[in-house]
């Protein structure tokens, strides 16, 4: 709270100074100074087990495996190895039976804050019957079973049950919605075509969205997760920006000005679409007011301007421009005012994305002739390279909690999609099929 006040006072003071100097047009210099909290203490959580209660052999184990991975990826919890601690039971019933008490005591004495367990089975003997899952949560702080969840659904959604349970745990202990039910949109090669796909955040359940037989590139989500905007070559001679509704597959063109229209990005409130277009000559940035349909040109530079990404409060844009020779990152107000260069290190910096927490901008930097992921603070003071080694890394996109990035890389030969923590740790490969997967875009949280 105190920190927030300090920031407001600081920004307010700066605006006064800037206003007096007559150089800022509207709330520019709006950069969050929020710390990343490297000292964040993870909550020790143990998954006792998800017991099979009359379903197929794989049922409990599958849910348990997905739940454990979600808990680990949340970066909110430290997943405790319970058997290593001597806790070898897999089921604690409703938590009220005598045996459970001893386990709670043992866990609490070993510093475990939360214990989670449950069971899953079929509602009827029939193989097509619904799956029932029950989950329980013990909290050592209050020394009680604080509650649980009951889910029902078809056997095809058991991964989703685990994801929901994981998100409930994150929500209970952080107030954030969690990322286990988020999706990743991406481009996959089919023959010579590149089509849009959507998969779960952990790489499962990939679904094809377009079947043009030609190029569809760089999808981005709408704030409400219902739509994607992307560049399409469906008309071959111009590259338009299309929108597709995920639930219906309904698709239409939103920008067809002529020329190359690429890198669309919706503002966090959905009121503006920023994009790059070459319809007036070279590639410049524009923004469409999605309500009035008015288009405002944001840059007029004779060089190439592209890849706008919105600050979380919608007041600023980071983008790429090669006005200095090679591509570099620049910042400006969302109305095109107050342009200033952000990156000075290296001769190739591109594909910026502003983190949902505001404190970092991830991008592709060229280091020793390789294209790697970097992050830089919006004030340019802190910079860090996240990936190393051979291969072209491209198209970083933040998780809605700001703790992870997804990106494409040719590190293993063909282009595939990977997840990495925002501090550069724990790279996880998400796609294994196909000849080319690229341009991942992480959905907002629901």
């Amino acid at each position: 709270m105190t920190q927030m006040k300090l920031i407001s006072a600081l920004v307010g003071g700066l605006l006064l100074v800037a206003g007096a100097l007559g150089i800022l047009e509207s709330g520019a210099a709006d950069v969050f100074l929020e710390a990343t909290r490297p000292d964040f203490q993870k909550i020790a959580l143990g998954v006792v087990g998800i017991q099979n209660a009359g379903g197929p052999d794989w049922l409990g184990g599958r849910i348990e495996e997905v739940l454990k991975k979600d808990v680990k990826r949340s970066l909110v919890f430290d997943l405790i190895d319970l058997p290593g601690m001597g806790i070898k039971v897999h089921d604690l019933g409703t938590g009220l039976e005598g045996g459970a008490k001893a386990v709670f005591k043992q866990a609490a004495e070993n510093g475990v804050s939360v214990l989670v367990w449950g069971r899953a089975g079929l509602k009827a003997a029939d193989k097509e019957a619904d799956v029932n899952m029950e989950g329980f949560v013990y909290d050592s702080g209050s020394d009680e079973v604080v509650g649980g969840k009951r889910y029902v659904g078809s056997p095809s959604v058991v991964r989703l049950m685990a994801h929901r349970f994981a998100d409930e745990l994150v929500f209970r202990y952080t107030g954030e919605p969690g990322i286990a039910r988020t999706k990743i949109a991406y481009v996959a090669e089919h023959g010579t075509a590149r089509e849009l796909f959507v998969m779960d955040y952990d790489g499962y359940d990939a679904r094809q969205l377009t079947a043009d037989g030609f190029l569809n590139l760089m999808p981005r989500w709408s704030p409400d997760r219902r739509f994607l905007v992307f560049t399409t070559y469906r008309n071959r001679n111009t590259q338009d920006i299309d929108m597709i509704e995920l639930a219906t597959g309904k698709r239409w063109t939103v920008i067809s000005l002529g020329g190359l229209n690429i890198t669309p990005a919706l503002s966090p409130d959905g009121n503006f679409l920023a994009f790059a277009s070459s319809y007036e000559g070279n590639s410049d940035l524009y923004r469409l007011d999605t309500r009035t349909k008015a288009i405002q040109r944001l840059t007029t530079n004779p060089s190439g301007d592209l890849s706008p990404s919105w600050s979380p409060n919608g007041r600023e844009l980071v983008f790429v421009s090669d006005r200095g020779g090679g591509p570099q990152l620049f910042l400006m107000g969302a109305d095109g005012s107050n342009v200033r260069r952000l990156t000075f290190e290296g001769d190739y910096n591109a594909a910026p994305v502003w983190s949902p927490r505001g404190n970092w901008i991830a991008y592709v930097c060229r280091a020793r002739r390789e294209y790697k992921l970097c992050v830089i603070s919006p004030d340019g003071q802190k910079r860090m390279q996240l990936t190393t080694g051979p291969g072209v890394d491209d198209s970083p996109s933040w998780s809605p909690d700001g703790r992870h990035l997804v990106f494409s890389s040719t590190a293993d030969g063909k282009s595939h999609i990977y997840m990495i923590n925002a501090d550069g740790k724990d790279i996880e490969r998400l796609t294994f099929e196909g000849t080319h997967n690229s341009a991942p875009s992480w959905s907002p949280a629901s």
Binding site: L21, R150, I255, E280, V392
Partner: protein
């Protein structure tokens, strides 16, 4: 605190210097097809009325977040049963569609271009400058176009796999336009030439090697067969 203010001070001074150098920084344009007309506008102004749909801009739904909370109901002592559906509902795609047509058109264009003997132009890494070899190839192409005066040619700009997808699209467009401009310099009518950038999305060669990269950094001349 003092340090942070200092940093801001530097940023502000840098911004002032930049604005001073770049002069006027923006203008607004009315959306719409071919018009090059631009209008000087006061800041933040949007122009055009909201009721008439403009050419080049399609309909736009409200995409703002309608509800928060993520559909989570919390962990309760007496949880009610929650039905878990398919999450984000996704429509099934029909892969039959138009997929064949695009490839048929491309094959027809490639065959016609090969028959005409049109030559490609190649570029250096990160560059869109036409080299001496490139000028020779384009001179031959210009001669061919002059003696085939009804032919329409599309210049495709391509890049190698290095660098980002997005920036390569812009680089590919610069390459295609550099080749087109040189053809125009040689006397080919600009109305007979069009450009398209494929960035690094349609490489002609797929190895991770310089010999392959060189083949992919190209302006590919295609004889238009359709409209």
């Amino acid at each position: 605190m003092t340090k942070t203010l200092g940093i801001y001070g530097i940023t502000l001074v840098a911004s002032m210097a930049f604005i001073g150098l770049s002069g006027c920084s923006k203008k607004s344009v009315q959306s719409g097809g071919d018009s090059q007309a631009t209008q000087g506008m006061a800041k933040g102004g949007s122009i055009g009325s909201s009721d008439s749909p403009k050419s080049g801009v399609g309909s736009f739904p409200d995409t703002s977040i309608q509800s928060g909370g993520g559909g989570l109901q919390g962990i309760n002592k007496n949880p009610s049963e929650e039905r878990v559906g398919g999450g984000t509902q996704l429509a099934k795609v029909d892969p039959s569609g138009s997929s064949g047509r695009q490839m048929d058109e491309i094959r027809a264009e490639q065959a016609a271009s090969a028959a005409a003997g049109l030559r490609d132009v190649f570029y250096a890494f990160d560059s869109w400058t036409i080299t001496e070899d490139g000028r020779q190839a384009l001179s031959r192409d210009a001669e061919w176009m002059k003696s085939n005066s009804s032919a329409q040619v599309k210049v495709e700009g391509h890049c190698d796999e290095r660098g980002t997808s997005a920036y390569n699209l812009v680089l590919g467009e610069k390459r295609a336009k550099a080749a087109r401009n040189y053809l125009v310099e040689l006397g080919v009518g600009a109305n007979r030439l069009s450009v398209v950038s494929y960035g690094k999305e349609r490489p002609s060669c797929n190895e991770h090697a310089e010999s392959c990269y060189q083949q992919n950094r190209r302006g590919h001349l295609v004889l238009k067969t359709g409209k």
